[in-house]
Structure formats: structure tokens, C-alpha cells
């Protein structure tokens, strides 16, 4: 089975604070990797390191993606090569129209792939189809990006972007938080539909519920900036019963 992403001994800081303290993690092509861990464990920081967020300074170790060391790549280069992150807290950008933004992003990607750009009409057709599937209201795509969206609507909008951009490596940082029962189902369906032998998911969550819909192939437990445990869904059962203390370091 081939490796999509290999993280080796990753140490990273935000400001002066050392947050990642030697992460080793292998994520495989076509697989779903769930990441769990207590608040403040460094899950979001790890995601940010993977996508190249400027706040995160990698001090040691590396990130290998599709065989290439991307540790120092620009965020947009990583994105164009297929890395996508659904943000835990998507930002609101007043004045940037949602549909226009998405088309710009898609056409940047198409250009990178050597494909011609989609015009507004072609794009709108594609977009309408997707929002219907997701149960989003159509007016949302004509609004400013995330502006005034409810917590759940923001999450749906992240999934919409994922569907449009068709990335190869998808990080979902607490995509399930703030979603109502129906929306969680829709989002899970959308994710399941995108599970292919070529695509990898890294799903960060605190809850079992989403993992019932999207069965993970691997579960990793992160704590205090390190991966403490890797296994299958049985880890989630143990966590549900005992909490994170069962994975305390000796």
C-alpha cells in the first residue's frame, strides 16, 4: 500500500511555544485516518503545519507528500498539489463573493493541471449541482465568503469547496462540530462519496458519531504534541469508556 504522506519527527512552534514534539505519522493512499486527542494536544497545529500556515514554525523533522519534501513549500503550492484543509474555524471574508472565490480557486487548480478555465456559466452549473446534494441554500453561494454564515453553514461551505476542488489529501479539522444531525449525515455522505483509492482523509474529531458514518481505517491518538497510539476503531471504544488517561505515557 503506498504512502500518501509521511511525517517524520516533526517539531513545531507557534510563537515561542513548542507544540509539536516529534510527530511520526504515516498516512496511506485511499485510507481514512482519524486523529483524536484532548483539547490543546496539537491536532490543529499539526494540520496547520501540513498546509503551511505561517504561524507554525517547523523546527525539526519533515513532511513528505507524494514522495516530495514539502516542509518549506508555500501554502498555495501545497494546495495546488492536492492538499486541502477544512478549517476548524473558517474565516469570514466580507466583499469576496463565495462563488467568485470558488471559481478563482478552481481555475487556479485547473491551470496548474494544464486545463482550460471554466467560465462563469459552466462553473455555476457545477456549483448548483453540488450545493443541492449538500442541502445548502443557493443564496449562500452569492453571499460574501462565510460572512454571517452560521457555524454549521460554514462547515458545509468547507465541504462544498472540497467537492469542487477534488483534492488528493483532505484534512477535516472538526468538521463535525456545530453540525446538526441532518447536516452531519449529508457531510458524511459527501465524504464517503469522495473516498477513492487515490484519496486520503485525515479526520480530526472529538466524537465517535462521525466515525460511525465514515469508518476510519486507522485511528491515531495525539497528546502533548506526540502520537501516543495508532490502531483501529477499537481505540475509539476504549477512549469512550476510559477517556484519554488510558493513553498516558508511562
Amino acid at each position: 500500500m503506498s504512502t500518501m504522506m509521511k511525517i517524520e519527527n516533526l517539531h513545531a512552534k507557534i510563537g515561542d511555544k513548542q507544540i509539536l514534539k516529534g510527530i511520526d505519522l504515516k498516512m496511506l493512499k485511499g485510507k481514512v485516518h482519524a486523529i483524536m486527542g484532548p483539547n490543546g494536544a496539537g491536532k490543529s497545529t499539526l494540520s496547520k503545519a501540513i498546509v503551511g500556515h505561517p504561524d507554525v514554525e517547523v523546527t525539526e523533522g519533515k513532511i513528505i507528500y507524494k514522495g516530495k519534501d514539502i516542509t518549506n513549500w508555500e501554502p498555495e503550492e501545497r494546495a495546488l498539489e492536492g492538499i486541502f484543509m477544512a478549517f476548524q474555524h473558517p474565516v469570514e471574508i466580507p466583499g469576496v463573493n463565495n462563488a467568485y472565490f470558488l471559481r478563482t480557486a478552481l481555475n487556479a487548480k485547473r491551470k496548474h493541471l494544464g486545463l482550460p478555465p471554466l467560465n462563469a456559466a459552466e462553473f455555476l452549473r457545477l456549483l448548483k449541482e453540488k450545493i443541492k446534494e449538500l442541502g445548502m441554500r443557493e443564496e449562500m453561494i452569492h453571499r460574501s465568503l462565510n460572512e454571517g454564515f452560521s457555524g454549521g453553514e460554514k462547515k458545509l461551505n468547507e465541504i462544498l469547496q472540497m467537492e469542487i476542488l477534488e483534492p488528493d489529501f483532505v484534512i477535516l479539522d472538526e468538521i463535525d462540530s456545530g453540525l446538526d444531525i441532518d447536516a452531519l449525515k449529508k457531510v458524511s455522505e459527501a465524504i464517503n462519496k469522495m473516498r477513492t483509492p487515490d484519496r486520503t482523509f485525515m479526520i480530526i474529531t472529538h466524537y465517535r458519531k462521525i466515525l460511525d458514518y465514515i469508518e476510519p481505517d486507522f485511528v491515531h491518538v495525539l497528546k502533548n504534541g506526540k502520537v501516543l497510539k495508532t490502531g483501529g476503531i477499537e481505540i475509539v471504544d476504549a477512549l469512550e469508556k476510559e477517556g484519554y488517561k488510558i493513553f498516558e505515557e508511562a
Binding site: 478549517f87 474565516v91 466583499g95 472565490f101 478563482t104
Partner: protein, 379 residues
């Protein structure tokens, strides 16, 4: 000649102006509305004096003014030259009065029917001081739009000009001032006076894009139920100093002032937004709103933003003001880049979104396109 060397005694025929100037004194670098502009190097320089001649006016679909001389105008507009125009007797700017003192023939346009008018101003003189004035009278009930555009070739020169605008009752004037200045040594101080009579509406858009040194001072007064809606964009680059100052006085009851300013500065450019909104005692139930936002694209850029209010009545329906200065939102920038949008393009999207409110309000694409061109023009 040096502008400040003028001898007031020589202007005996313009007694009221001389009197006014004597009481106000000459502008100095400490004068409140010139404090951040740096007038000394501009006013102290030697210039060749120039008096714009009056020439025959060619018929055209727009007005053209070359170095203060009207060269073209449409037939539908009545053009004349006034020797003794009525001046604003309570302007805060000394240069308003100096300008009037130095000008013998004020250009006067009368707008007697609804129209859309374009005024192209060309600045071509080198090393020259050019003073002129323009008066615009909008007749009662008329709805007019004027778009002013600059074409600048003048280096090392100083231009004084300004509009005296009279909005008769029930009239509407939309004035779009599109000031693109591509020459660093071009300097301009303009002093405007706008009188909004009962039930009239003044919509002002100013766009200051470029690298020059320009300051526009506006004294606007509003009578009963009159409204001023002013939107300003400054985009300064290199060593530009681009500024606008205002005294907007709500003098009549139920009058309204709404003013927003959006500024983007890069390199070592400086922007000035210094706006004082005044509500006089009789102006009961009036509403004033003012808000200024600035994005500094790099460290050397600088913005002076001073929204201010003075209220002399107890009964006011709204008084809001605010000012913010900051960098581009880093989280927003990252969000766009995470979706594969290149850094420069992402920045441009954010800058445009910042200006969007004003471009939307203007409702046309032309100036927005000009902005994008200037913005994308990289050294």
C-alpha cells in the same frame, strides 16, 4: 514667484477677501488641516506664475480644462466667466481665499437641465504655479452627474483650484472625482466649497490614486433636509501624499451626512483623512455618520485618519464615527492561499473586497478597473 510672497495690499479691489485672509493669517505647517501634508516644501518653491487665459470654446461632448483654461464644452451647458463670484464667507482654509484672490475670472457652469457631464482636466505646465477656480450652479430640481478626470503631465508644478458648488433646493448632484496622478512632482492644493440648499442631495465620490502630492479641502454646508453622502478612496504608492480634509456642517434640521473613507497605502506613501462633522444648534434631528478604514500594505506606509464630530444640539438622531488602521487580514490571506490562490492574487482579492462597498455604491466598473491596473502595476 513664491506663493506666500503675495502682497495683500495689491488686492485692494477684493477687500472682503483681503480682510478675511488678514484675520485668518497665512497657512503654516502648523495650520490644523495642513499639519500632515507638509506644505512648506510646496509653497516655498519658486514657480513661474501663470494666469490661465480665456479662449474660444470648442464644442464637444465633455468639458475639457487645460491648465485652468476651458477649451471644450457641450452646447447644453452655459459657460461664463465671473469677475466677482460670491465666495464662501466661512471656509476654514486660507488657501480658499488666496486662490480666490489670485483668480480674476472664475469659470462658471450653469446646469439648467438633468445631465451627465464629464470634466477632463489636463495639467501640462512644468515648474509653474497655476491658480483657477470653477463655480458650478445646479438649478432647482435638477439631477446632474459630473465625473471629473485628471490627465497629468505637469512636473514640478503647483496647481490651486477648487469648486464652488451651489446646489439649489431639491437638486441632486453626484460628483465623481477620479484623480489619478502618475507623477511624483505634481502638487495640487484644492479648496472646495459646497452649499447644499433645502432638500438637495450631494453625492461625492473621490478617488485619489497615485504618487503625487495633493490635498483637497472641502467645506460643505447643509440646509434643512439636505444630505451629503461622501465616499473616498485613497490608494497611495511610492512617496505619495494624498489627502482630503473636510468641514461638513449640518446647519438645517433633518439634514444628513454620511461619509466613508477607505485607504490603501504602500511603499512610503502617506494618506490623510481629516474630517470634521459639525452639527449646528438649529440642525435638530440630523444624522451624521463617519467611518474611516485603512490597510497599510507594508511598514513604511502611513495613514493619518482623524474622524471628528462637534455637536451643538441636544436632539440628534444619529452620530456615529470610527476609524481603523491595520494590515491585510493574515488569516483571510492564508485561507485563500490554502485554496490554491497565489499570494499576490489573494492580496488583491482582499484589497478589492475592502473597497467593494464604495465601488458597489458607485455602480460602475470603470474606476474599479483603473484601480486594478494601478494596483497590479509592479515595479
Amino acid at each position: 514667484m513664491r506663493v506666500l510672497d503675495i502682497n495683500l495690499e495689491e488686492y485692494g479691489a477684493k477687500k472682503a477677501l483681503v480682510q478675511k485672509l488678514k484675520s485668518m493669517g497665512m497657512p503654516t505647517p502648523k495650520t490644523e488641516h495642513y499639519r500632515y501634508f507638509g506644505i512648506r516644501p510646496i509653497l516655498d518653491k519658486e514657480y513661474i506664475p501663470y494666469t490661465p487665459p480665456i479662449e474660444s470654446i470648442e464644442e464637444a461632448d465633455h468639458i475639457e480644462i487645460v491648465d485652468g483654461t476651458v477649451t471644450k464644452a457641450p452646447k447644453s451647458i452655459f459657460v461664463e466667466f465671473l469677475t466677482n463670484p460670491k465666495v464662501d464667507d466661512s471656509h476654514y482654509d486660507q488657501i480658499y481665499y488666496i486662490n480666490h484672490l489670485l483668480v480674476d475670472k472664475t469659470i462658471h457652469f450653469e446646469l439648467e437641465k438633468d445631465m451627465e457631464l464629464k470634466i477632463v482636466q489636463k495639467f501640462t505646465k512644468t515648474g509653474t504655479f497655476v491658480p483657477y477656480r470653477i463655480k458650478i450652479s445646479v438649478h432647482p430640481g435638477i439631477n446632474a452627474k459630473i465625473e471629473e478626470e485628471f490627465i497629468v503631465y505637469a512636473e514640478e508644478s503647483l496647481y490651486f483650484y477648487g469648486y464652488d458648488i451651489d446646489l439649489a433646493k431639491d437638486s441632486i448632484l453626484q460628483l465623481v472625482q477620479n484623480r489619478v496622478t502618475g507623477l511624483e512632482s505634481f502638487a495640487q492644493i484644492a479648496s472646495h466649497s459646497v452649499r447644499c440648499n433645502k432638500n438637495s442631495e450631494f453625492r461625492l465620490f473621490t478617488f485619489d490614486f497615485g504618487v503625487a502630492k495633493t490635498l483637497h479641502n472641502y467645506h460643505i454646508t447643509l440646509k434643512e433636509n439636505a444630505a451629503t453622502n461622501a465616499s473616498h478612496v485613497i490608494f497611495g504608492k511610492e512617496r505619495a501624499k494624498l489627502g482630503n480634509t473636510f468641514h461638513i456642517e449640518n446647519r438645517g434640521k433633518d439634514s444628513k451626512t454620511h461619509q466613508i473613507s477607505r485607504n490603501i497605502l504602500k511603499d512610503r506613501a502617506r494618506g490623510i483623512f481629516d474630517g470634521l462633522l459639525i452639527v449646528k444648534n438649529p440642525a435638530k434631528y440630523s444624522a451624521i455618520y463617519q467611518d474611516s478604514k485603512t490597510i497599510l500594505l507594508n511598514d513604511g506606509a502611513y495613514m493619518v485618519s482623524k474622524p471628528q464630530m462637534e455637536i451643538y444640539t441636544e436632539y440628534i438622531s444619529e452620530a456615529t464615527h470610527g476609524s481603523t488602521t491595520g494590515q491585510l487580514d493574515e488569516e483571510a490571506l492564508f485561507y485563500l492561499r490554502q485554496r490554491g490562490i497565489a499570494k499576490e492574487q489573494a492580496k488583491e482579492m482582499l484589497v478589492l473586497s475592502f473597497l467593494d462597498e464604495i465601488f458597489e455604491k458607485l455602480g460602475e466598473e470603470k474606476i474599479k478597473k483603473e484601480f486594478i491596473e494601478l494596483y497590479e502595476e509592479r515595479e
